[in-house]
């Protein structure tokens, strides 16, 4: 198979960027990725974004961002799959480059959530649920995660604060990431005394909404010069899978079936088993998602994923580090841009450039983004690329 490699990466800090617009954020990440790739220019731009229409009155992001980046003339379009938008854009970029139709694809995740008040942002994020039968009842993504967590804690008799470890791990790791929104470890007693947002979720179970942009430049290995400025990372597996849009339409809401299938398919394509991964960038928008994603990926039986929260294996020096640069919880949740951050962070790990958050000897990474409660799941397997 053709080797699709990540030739360049770029990202802005995740934060409330009052002084930066959607296009300015996007440009910073795109320029950084092109510079990182030694000035390589793309033939196509795929933008992952969820809410520019709802929150910035701006559609048509492909043309807007190609234009603003001085790339007019190339192919460009936006791709939307709720929280998995940028992961889906990465998959489209991968398919385009692997097919031979596009030589160099720029994948950009960009989201601007801070221009509107929280009630509006909650409404906009809830557009990713079933508008007629979920959002219309006053459901938010947070409330939906709380419904999942409440049932999960009840059904599997999870002790109080049984999910805390996911959040604490993310915050400990985020302390090493200069682009993270929160760069401070959190003590268990701070978690335990935090304000309840939607029972049983407290503020540390919920990733913070923020702005950000991250970009990856993809090409085929054979198109690059032999002496490239940095180690290359290959996309060895890629899979996108859907489940029912509404959580209530599933026979078992506590099973993230699309997440399971996308891990299986991406790993099969890469010729690995999930346990071969040196790290797992999972989609910890809510701590309950971490438990359900670990179960879906086959690391636990149904109802046992929470046990990982108490397991040192998820720490940077463990067997299955997660949220290595802070995850969604500490790096922040820039909506549909998130998948690009996850892939950029996994790339830093595989290049050995994650500094204080480095997973020692990382060669293979599993990266997964979810749209809603895994109504869409997109999984990529990234590997260190050996040029020979």
């Amino acid at each position: 198979m053709t080797n699709v490699v990540i030739a360049g990466i770029g990202q802005t800090p995740v934060n409330e960027h009052w002084d930066l617009s959607l296009r300015e954020l996007g440009l910073q990440a795109m320029e950084a990725a092109m510079q990182d790739a030694g000035g390589l220019r793309p033939n196509a731009l795929y933008v992952g974004n969820m809410l520019s229409g709802a929150l910035s009155h701006q559609a048509h992001l492909g043309a807007m961002l190609a234009d603003f980046a001085g790339l007019t003339g190339i192919e460009a379009a936006a791709i939307e799959a709720a929280g998995a938008s940028a992961a889906m854009a990465l998959r489209v970029g991968f398919l385009a480059v692997a097919s031979g139709q596009v030589d160099v694809a720029l994948v950009l995740g960009v989201e601007k959530l801070s221009d509107q008040v929280p009630a509006q942002v909650e409404s906009a994020l809830a557009m990713g649920t079933d508008a007629d039968y979920e959002a219309e009842q006053g459901l938010t993504l947070t409330a939906q995660a709380a419904l999942l967590a409440q049932r999960y804690l009840h059904e599997f008799k999870v002790p109080e604060h049984g999910l805390a470890g996911f959040s604490l791990t993310a915050h400990a790791n985020g302390a090493h990431n200069p682009n993270a929104m929160f760069r401070k470890a959190v003590k268990p007693e701070i978690y335990a005394s935090a304000a309840i947002v939607s029972a049983p979720l407290n503020m540390f179970d919920i990733a913070p909404n923020a702005d950000g942009a991250a970009a990856l430049l993809l090409t085929r290995a054979e198109l690059l010069p032999p002496k490239f400025p940095h180690p290359l990372v290959e996309i060895a597996g890629s899979s996108a899978v859907t489940d029912t849009l509404a959580l209530h339409d599933r026979p078992d809401p506590l099973t993230f079936n699309a997440a399971r299938l996308s891990v299986e398919r991406a790993c099969a394509q890469a010729g690995i088993l999930p346990k071969d991964a040196d790290l797992f960038e999972l989609f910890d928008a809510f701590s309950i998602y971490s438990a359900l994603s670990l179960e879906a990926a086959g690391f636990s039986e149904r109802g046992q994923g929470w046990v990982w929260a108490r397991n040192g294996a998820i720490h940077l020096d463990g067997d299955l580090p997660i949220a290595t640069l802070g995850g969604l919880k500490a790096r922040g949740f820039p909506g549909g841009a998130t998948g690009a951050y996850q892939a950029v962070e996994a790339t830093l790990q595989l290049r050995g450039q994650a500094d204080g958050a480095q997973v020692p000897g990382a060669k293979t990474a599993l990266v997964q983004s979810l749209g809603g409660p895994a109504s869409t799941a997109v999984t990529h397997v990234l590997k260190v690329f050996n040029q020979n």
Binding site: P118, A119, Q120, E122, S123, A126, D130, D132, Y133, E134, A135, E136, Q137, G138, L139, T140, T142, A143, Q144, A146, L147, L148, Q150, R151, H154, V197, S198, A199, P200, L201, T244, A246, L247, H248, D249, R250, P253
Partner: protein
């Protein structure tokens, strides 16, 4: 301008009208025309009893646009007696603490207040503690 959209949903919102699959007898709510159980067409209307029990619940304090007046409100997933799960608010619960397994029944209530100058009010199903159970408790 969502008037036709909400008008189309009247039967579902006011009377819990879903569908029954004539091939495998699965009861479907919301209606979805293709049976998820057997994959065949399912377009026969079916009115649900409105009885069910709480599958899960939570409280919403940070409400989305149009729901602020109701906040904080209790949101639930309700397992209908005929099988399907629905997402809906719990109402008329007074001092009772919601619980998983609590028997509930459907009522019609205001879902959302006006968010624009046209002032459209959206009514639909919510669930309250089953009256028989409430009488027993009293």
């Amino acid at each position: 301008m969502d008037i036709p959209r909400h008008w189309r949903l009247n039967k579902q919102r006011y009377a819990l009208v879903g569908e029954v699959c004539e091939h495998c007898d699965a009861k479907l709510f919301p209606p979805r025309d293709i049976c998820p159980e057997c994959g065949k067409e399912a377009k026969t209307l079916f009115q649900f009893s409105g009885k069910g029990e709480v599958y899960s619940y939570t409280t919403v304090y940070e409400a989305p646009e149009g729901y602020a007046e109701q906040a904080p409100y209790t949101l639930a997933m309700v397992k209908l007696a005929e099988g399907p799960l629905v997402t809906a608010q719990l109402t008329d619960i007074g001092d009772q603490k919601p619980a998983i397994g609590m028997p509930v029944e459907m009522v019609t209530r205001l879902l959302r207040s006006a968010t624009d100058e046209r002032g459209m009010l959206i009514y639909g199903y919510k669930f309250r503690p089953a009256v028989a159970q409430a009488a027993q408790a009293a």
